[in-house]
């Protein structure tokens, strides 16, 4: 679909950006020490840190990806909400307090607290960089997705604008400005998701099963790049045609045509007892390079929508396919184990003063994040029935839902701007984590460079700029992939590489530095290799046949997370110090 930029949206976006940058420059004067730049001096209040957790964690994948997935496939998207939130239980009950006690700037600090090992620092730093880059990709793709309706600019422009802004935010005041951006974003996201949910419930559900609204649409892309809609050039001028917005209820319970305002439970119950047009696409490529994509409505019962198995990635759980079921279990395991292994989440524990603050800020984080994730179900189903979905782009569901309430008005402007800050908040956290790993773990600990506080901050800023530039390139290369799907990769790698080392360090006295180093390496290499050889990557990245893949299912966690634990135990047992326990 062609989205027209709105002057109001641009204004709100510029205000957001201006405020964010002004605050970054304001705090720049106070962030000249390494402790202030990389960990905000450990002085952030636990309540503020809790909402910053939400701002850090609720990424483009959560807001754009999950809402889009629910809007097009129903309950399957909500499975991500459940898995992401469950992961915070691991963070609170197992990781939060010990990590705060043992570390200073990076999660490698905590892993290495007993051993003073270069091997641990090196592998943990590489793991941090790889996970951060994999997590950055979907954020930058999300930025490119948002730029089209907001400013009317192409995908790459969104990626470059966000990349440049985030790099500026991080370079000016590091973790201090990053915390502020995340706090602002987390708060706004929760507030305006609530506003949209209330509007969805107030609007209720209305039947639209007219032939016009259910007519198939055909998008043809010719070898020269020109695009046709139903055989007519795509555009909004005379003699041109654009893709039609879709998404409607085709039957309500008891034959009614509209419900009026609904309560939250009543809304879900009504959806469950209705029929809705879900849009499916089929792409055919001819030998001359012409691509023809046909979008057709598929009338689906609410009971089918509100249970798992509609999305292609989850469809096998309704069949007898064991690899399909293992793929599902593997994904849910990675989501559960991945949250507490993400470097940008872990370093936020160093921004509060003590363990009690770490615990309390996680509690606030779980409250705000859990509340938002419950709202994703309403936002996704609201978008599904809004009549304003873009059939060619599932990542646009949430902003277009806002547009359905007042076309071109304040809500769309604010939600689009919040979506942009969503990307800013998460990307800034990732860049701080990556630059901390470069300065503290790689340069200082592994290479043995002696640096003053001033030099650490300066090199950290250069590292942030380089990581930001890499993120921009990857955001352009991976255009068109669903952002939720991409985040699943980052979770799998983080859970496989980092969690076994963290958990065993805390709970097994025989853990050795060799065991930790081997576990991180094994988890990282195995999960990355598995992903690169998976059917999903064959199909979506290489453009090859998924069936040619040599691994039986795409999600690696069920194999690579236990492998990390196993390698750690075996190597630790083999490398026990003679005559004393490893802890000694």
């Amino acid at each position: 679909m062609i989205h027209q930029p709105s002057a109001l949206a641009i204004t709100v976006f510029c205000v957001f950006v201006g405020v964010t940058l002004a605050i970054s420059f304001y705090f720049a004067r106070r962030s000249r020490s390494a402790a202030a730049y990389f960990a905000a001096g450990g002085n952030i209040h636990w309540f503020v840190n809790g909402f910053a957790f939400a701002g850090d964690f609720l990424s483009a994948a959560s807001f754009l990806g999950i809402c889009g997935m629910i809007a097009f496939y129903g309950y399957d998207g909500f499975l991500y909400s459940i898995g992401y939130l469950a992961g915070w239980i691991v963070a609170l009950f197992v990781i939060a307090e010990p990590l705060k006690r043992l570390g200073r700037y990076t999660f490698a600090d905590a892993l290495d607290s007993r051993f003073q090992s270069r091997g641990i620092k090196l592998t943990a730093a590489i793991s941090t960089l790889i996970v951060s880059l994999f997590y950055l990709i979907p954020q930058m793709v999300g930025a490119g997705v948002l730029i089209k309706p907001l400013l009317g600019l192409p995908h790459y422009a969104g990626v470059l604008i966000v990349g440049a802004m985030v790099t500026l935010i991080v370079v000016t005041a590091g973790m201090v400005s990053t915390t502020y951006v995340q706090f602002l974003k987390g708060s706004l996201l929760v507030v305006f998701s609530t506003v949209m949910t209330i509007l969805i419930l107030q609007r209720g559900l209305t039947v639209d099963n007219s032939p016009e609204s259910l007519a198939p649409q055909v998008l043809t892309v010719l070898p020269n790049g020109s695009r046709l809609i139903d055989g007519v050039p795509q555009g909004t001028g005379p003699g041109e045609r654009d893709l039609r917005p879709v998404g409607s209820v085709t039957r309500l319970p008891n034959g009614s045509t509209e419900t009026g305002p609904l309560g939250p439970i009543e809304f879900l119950r009504t959806i469950q007892n209705s029929e809705i047009a879900l849009w499916r696409k089929k792409e055919v490529k001819s030998e001359d390079g012409t691509s023809t994509t046909t979008f057709r409505p598929q009338i689906t019962s609410g009971t089918d929508i509100l249970k798992p198995g509609n999305h292609p990635a989850f469809k096998d759980i309704r069949s007898d396919s064991l690899p399909g079921k293992l793929n599902f279990i593997s994904l849910m395991l990675a989501l559960f184990a991945g949250t507490a292994s993400l470097p940008h989440i872990l370093i936020r524990y160093y921004t509060v003063k003590d363990q009690a603050s770490a615990r309390k800020s996680t509690l606030v984080g779980i409250g705000s994040i859990g509340y938002f994730y419950i709202l994703t179900l309403f936002l996704g189903l609201g978008a599904m029935t809004s009549g304003n979905l873009d059939v060619s782009d599932d990542n646009m569901a949430a902003p277009l839902l806002a547009k359905s309430f007042n076309d071109g008005g304040w809500l769309f402007a604010i939600v689009s701007a919040i979506a942009f800050t969503t990307v800013l908040g998460t990307v800034s956290g990732l860049i701080v984590a990556a630059s901390g790993a470069v300065v503290h773990d790689l340069l200082s600990s592994v290479c043995g460079l002696q640096m003053s506080d001033y030099q650490k901050v300066r090199i950290g800023k250069w590292a942030a700029a380089v990581v930001g530039a890499i993120a921009m390139v990857l955001g352009i290369v991976f255009q068109g992939m669903n952002v939720t799907y991409l985040v699943g990769w980052a979770f799998s790698i983080a859970a496989s590489a980092n969690l076994p080392a963290l958990v065993m360090l805390l709970f097994w006295k025989k853990t050795t530095w060799q065991g930790i180093t081997a576990a991180i390496t094994a988890g990282m290499v195995s999960s990355l290799t598995w992903i690169l050889m998976s059917g999903d990557t064959f199909d979506k990245v290489y453009g090859w046949k998924a069936d040619d893949s040599i691994v039986p299912f795409s999600q690696p966690g069920i194999v690579t997370i236990p492998l990390g634990f196993l390698v750690l135990v075996v190597v630790s047992l083999v490398t026990q110090p003679k005559g004393s326990s490893a802890q000694d």
């Binding site: 705090f27 106070r30 962030s31 402790a35 202030a36 905000a40 001096g41 450990g42 002085n43 952030i44 209040h45 309540f47 503020v48 309950y75 909400s81 939130l85 469950a86 915070w88 239980i89 691991v90 609170l92 009950f93 197992v94 307090e97 010990p98 006690r101 915390t179 502020y180 439970i265 879900l268 119950r269 469950q272 009971t303 509100l306 249970k307 798992p308 198995g309 759980i317 309704r318 079921k325 599902f328 279990i329 849910m332 395991l333 559960f336 003063k353 003590d354 363990q355 615990r359 309390k360 996680t362 509690l363 779980i366 409250g367 859990g370 994730y373 419950i374 179900l377 805390l506 709970f507």
Partner: protein, 95 residues
């Protein structure tokens, strides 16, 4: 914006090994309880997906009730953990 001032001094909680050990014990117990409930949810979805159709509460199916329930349970358990860990272990022993 005082809470963003990275240069301001703060009062830190003193590290108490007994409190850390107690908190860790509570955390592990609650972790295993939640993990079990989560694993059952994943297992039902994977091996008995038709069960998710069952209408269990307020006319809603098991998938919706269990899914939202898992999110609410996580928050409830985190509140419980915060309450259990509110005081130093030494003050509990003296009661």
């Amino acid at each position: 914006m005082a809470h963003f001032d990275s240069s301001a001094p703060t009062h830190k909680e003193a590290f108490d090994p007994a409190t850390a050990k107690r908190n860790s014990r509570y955390g592990v117990i609650l972790f295993f309880i939640y993990t079990t409930i989560y694993a059952v949810f994943v297992g039902i979805n994977a091996f008995a997906p038709a069960t998710m159709d069952w209408i269990v509460l307020f006319g809603l199916n098991l998938a919706v009730v269990y899914g939202i329930g898992l999110i609410l349970l996580a928050f409830a358990m985190s509140l419980l953990y915060g309450w259990l860990c509110r005081a130093p272990a030494s003050s509990e022993e003296s009661l």
